[in-house]
Symmetry: C2
Subunit: 214 residues, 2 copies
């Protein structure tokens, strides 16, 4: 399936990867426009006009409007291309998947991001992405590591009782959890604990899908 | 419209209020079950069985499943009762409203909450709501006040160009922004700055609606 949409994204950005995997799972062909974060292209006038929050990814629709924020981009794609839904079909499924995807993001992904941004030497006054500068707070690094460990424990408990994060079927919640683990492993050297067998089994299953290499 | 749903909520909880206003705007009659946060009822075995995150509100469906997380509860209600949509109708509307509601929450509501939880004497080891204890970080109080001021500035810029937060029509994004302002005013004595005339005009219009007293 091809579209006239454009995805502004960066290969090194974990938030961009959430959308790339989502798109690959749905089988949508979505033209990508690279945004060079190393060259600070997200702060350029052209990009800020598309996304005033100065973050990637952004989905630009054929008729103009730009959609920022990963869950909102996923929402557009799942509503506009309802085949292979990754955010559910019934009201109940949609709500439960949104609940789980959000927990994976706020308890997992955001905890990794907070740790990384409060620690990286190059982000001294950029502890929160966006239009405003905030100084790093060193205490958030230790707390962030604790939060990621708690995330792994909670995820293990969940996957011991359900095949996928949001229940019996693969959904956007799995994508966010999977990217969170890759991010924590790469940036914080916090991989899945050895003893977390339910998480490992689930992770191996996802890693075997071609779409999860997107 | 009556339902067999039940909303577990607390009158003093700003997150509960987001759902109460949402429900009132849609004209749904939703039986409420009070959760006494003062008596720490959210930590009781009975409530944790409904919401393992130990937070209010939770929406319990007729056939059993419980939906936590405010945006997920709103999603269920808007999908199950599509009259008077507050999260949009078309894919584009749904995505743009989700984007704006999320920005209001992450940049506004969450900043107020973080400030309050890192400052309240009674929440020493409860800086983040949920199943895990995290110690307060005093530096987050000052940063939180800054973030709320930045939120007010960004909201003013938005409301100078649009009638409502997400565009031409009232949506869930307005509800979250409105409750954020009440929360910041009450808990942090940070009301809408005098000079923010677009925000004041928008706020007066919402405050005049009966549903916004819910």
């Amino acid at each position: 399936m091809t579209t006239d949409l454009k995805l502004y994204q960066s290969n090194g950005s974990p938030n961009s990867r959430r959308v790339r995997i989502f798109v690959a799972e749905k089988g949508i062909e979505l033209p990508q426009v690279p945004v060079d974060l190393g060259a600070k292209e997200q702060f350029s006038e052209a990009y800020v006009a598309i996304n005033p929050r100065r973050v990637v990814p952004t989905l630009v629709l054929e008729d103009g409007p730009a959609i920022g924020e990963v869950p909102a981009i996923m929402r557009y794609l799942d509503e506009a291309f309802p085949e292979t839904p990754l955010l559910g079909s019934s009201p109940q499924e949609k709500a439960l998947i949104q609940m789980w995807e959000r927990r994976m993001e706020l308890e997992g992904f955001a905890a990794v991001m907070e740790t990384v941004r409060n620690r990286a030497a190059g982000l001294k006054d950029r502890a929160i992405a966006g239009p405003h500068d905030y100084a790093q707070i060193p205490a958030l690094v230790d707390r962030g590591m604790e939060r990621v460990k708690d995330f792994y424990a909670d995820l293990e408990a969940r996957l011991a009782e359900a095949a996928f994060v949001a229940g019996p079927a693969l959904s956007a919640a799995d994508i966010t959890a999977f990217v969170t683990i890759a991010f924590a492993t790469g940036a914080l050297q916090l991989g899945i604990p050895e003893a977390n067998t339910a998480t490992r089994r689930w992770h191996d299953g996802l890693a075997a899908r071609a779409s999860f290499s997107a």
